[in-house]
Amino acid sequence: MSEFLGLYPYWVVIFLMMTGFYIVISRGNLIKKVIGLNIFQSSVFLLYISIGKVSGATAPITAEGFEVYGNPLPSVLILTAIVVGVATTSVALALVVRIREAYNTIEEDEIKDEIRTQGAGP
């Protein structure tokens, strides 16, 4: 039981990861897909940040009386990944706007129907 509780950040990570992944797969609405993708990516951010945690440690700033420091590298790495995630989201939303302009819908099924009935269009 204590092992289960000790690993709780990872349970949160797995829960979020599966939630996000499921939304991406199951939802036909493109915006919801983007949101799912965001949750999925956020879970990985949490995974990295919890890797850097050292129990009983302080922030990695050298000072008198502190011997154990947390690992700052995963947090730094994940800053980069967050930027990548923001960029991905913005590109995805820009595409959704263009898709709505071209098809007048953001439902995957309706887009497919329209492609089937009216060909590729202009």
Binding site: F21, V24, L37, V44, V84, A92
Partner: protein, 497 residues
Amino acid sequence: MIEHNLPALQVVIPLVAAPLCVVIRNARAVYGMTFVVAWLTFACAVALFIRVADSGDIVYAMGGWVAPWGIEYRVDQLSGFVLVLVAGMGAVVATWAPRGLAAEVAPSKRHLFWALYLLCLSGLLGIAITGDLFNVFVFLEISALSSYGLIALGGRRKALPAAFRYLIMGTIGATFILIGIGLMYMMTGTLNMADMATRLPVDGHRTVLVAFAFLTVGISLKAALFPLHAWLPDAYAYAPSTVSALLAATATKVSVYILLRFFLSVFGADFAFGGMGVGQILMVLAVVGMFVASAAAIFQGNLKRMLAYSSVAQIGYMVLGISLASTAGLTGGIVHLFNHGLIKGGMFMATGCILLRAGSVERDELAGIGKTMPWTMMAWTLGGLGLIGVPGTAGFVSKWYLLQAALEQGHVWLAVLLLLSSLLAVAYVWRVVEQAYFKKPAGIGVGAREAPLSMLLPTLVVIGLTLFFGFWTDFPAGAAGAAAESLLGGALMGGTS
């Protein structure tokens, strides 16, 4: 000084030129700069390749921070080889592009197109050159994000859902890779590939196994290995021809390179192929992919879609070579990576010429196109022969190695399947050849003129190279063989700085 900094310049030149494109805005000036930059990066790649062949691996510490603390760039036989392919195709496609682009992308967006093109190129080159795991992820996303934008620039509105789907699948793949890298960092405390290779616990700790699984799935998604290829056909079919040519020649190949890097340099062949049956799984997927995707290609009416499905099948050949985990198999896989990059790049270029002059790449509308565009169709057909693997073409060389590797391990059935899948390639190439040469010119095939020289010449050069490498096998096969030997011989240890 310049020579010492070549590994950094390889990536930095296109990376710096990309934002300049956005600032300059003038389409002509931007293209001029892109042209120069693309050929400069190719010169860098060739110089690096020659240096590696002469004096061994090059290790470059970014900003003077020595590994494992700093980010390290590392050029060995394999990455030098991939750099030459990526930079070379990047330069040739950029040379080929302007006429076709004028018809496909609005003038107001052209400078942005070239900015994305250079970003994509620097991302792909960065993946091939870096020796740092997290850096791989960053470059992967640079190239992927720019390629989503490039695909969405395709003229028809179908390009948009295709780009969106690629974005979703590509991001999932990249995030899987990120998870894998995170778990590996957790176990080893390092991100440097060479350092990680020495520290990885080979006793099969579960976290390492999970990391390996995430990486394998993520990279397979990026490489469009069957059955994770669903994003590829639409993306390549509806992208602007320039983008199809660049991505088909380089993007999936670089993903196969990452697969090789992780499997053989970081985890090591013993871990990757021993005990878990990963080799067998990949082999089955590769073979099924070869057949399913080739069969699907036969029934595609759109030439670009057909070539895209054929790409999925050809990825199967490369992964098959890797899954055999022998020197001959790896040589076959790596040499096919190179040859297929040339062949498919050249064929997409020829198809782009047809699209420009005939206004369509629907097979049924192209009756008699071989008579009105003889040079273009000749290039296309020669490329098709390379896909089939007819002796005298580069495709034959790679399939020969794969056949040898299969027979060497006593897999006669595999050799038979290889030959059978080539027959499927005969079918889809033949359907186009029949339409182009054995039908009376009709419809749009009548009005089409031969492609402009500025497009025809690069196409013929690339296709000519595939024939040249079919006879002169010293460079691709020789270099691939050396790369395969060093990969299997526990690479990433020594090296000169």
